[in-house]
Symmetry: C2
Subunit: 142 residues, 2 copies
Amino acid sequence: MILALDNSKSKKDPWIVMERQYRHAANRFLWELPAGKIDGGEDPLAAAQRELAEETGYKAKKWRRLVEYYASPGFLGESMKVFVAEGLEAGDARPEEDEEIELRLVKMSDVLKMIEKGAIMDGKTLTSVLLYERLRAGRRRK
Amino acid sequence: MILALDNSKSKKDPWIVMERQYRHAANRFLWELPAGKIDGGEDPLAAAQRELAEETGYKAKKWRRLVEYYASPGFLGESMKVFVAEGLEAGDARPEEDEEIELRLVKMSDVLKMIEKGAIMDGKTLTSVLLYERLRAGRRRK
């Protein structure tokens, strides 16, 4: 999954590529970061690059790993691999037929406000944004 | 699930009740916050109080909700309900027979360092600790 940052307008408060879609399992609309399944044998970074392009149309020049974690370690063996993507170039999204995804660029400061209000209910988005922000603030402290 | 804080020694840097256990699905040992399944029809807060007592022996005087989120909204309908528990009283744990859990109190500042190094790989622990810390820092800024 991908924390895709457009920092062309502001380095301090970059825009984040967010998706909003109806999740049948949760029975509600959720704001989420782009994510998808890794195809069998696919490299996790290649999968993240493919998913970002398919779901959002964006390509990114710079990729780095943010974190790997287990969403439900009691019974899910597959880990979530989160990448940060920067240097975005827009293109055409090619979502799968069953995916109805609304795309939006949201300022990091606004995503953090949504998180503080409880308006983000997707675990991978909470983990990735909060961790990114903590590591960034830590670098600023130094 | 429960972020159980012992702030009797330090309000600024409370100790957190952590568990370490082998997770077969993930095929490794993980540090996690206490958590468990809600029994059918059980109130989420009652379930959190029961789980904390069963797994760790602790009871807490003060309970409040921190966040509710979906760990894997693509296919898991059940949400995670996270509570903060304070005013801890130690007691005897009664783990289930198949649970081999090592308990440890870890300082919040040390948990945050573990997170920054990538040593915490459990999603619920990442989300809860990072969110708690962000909300607390926000209150300090005001």
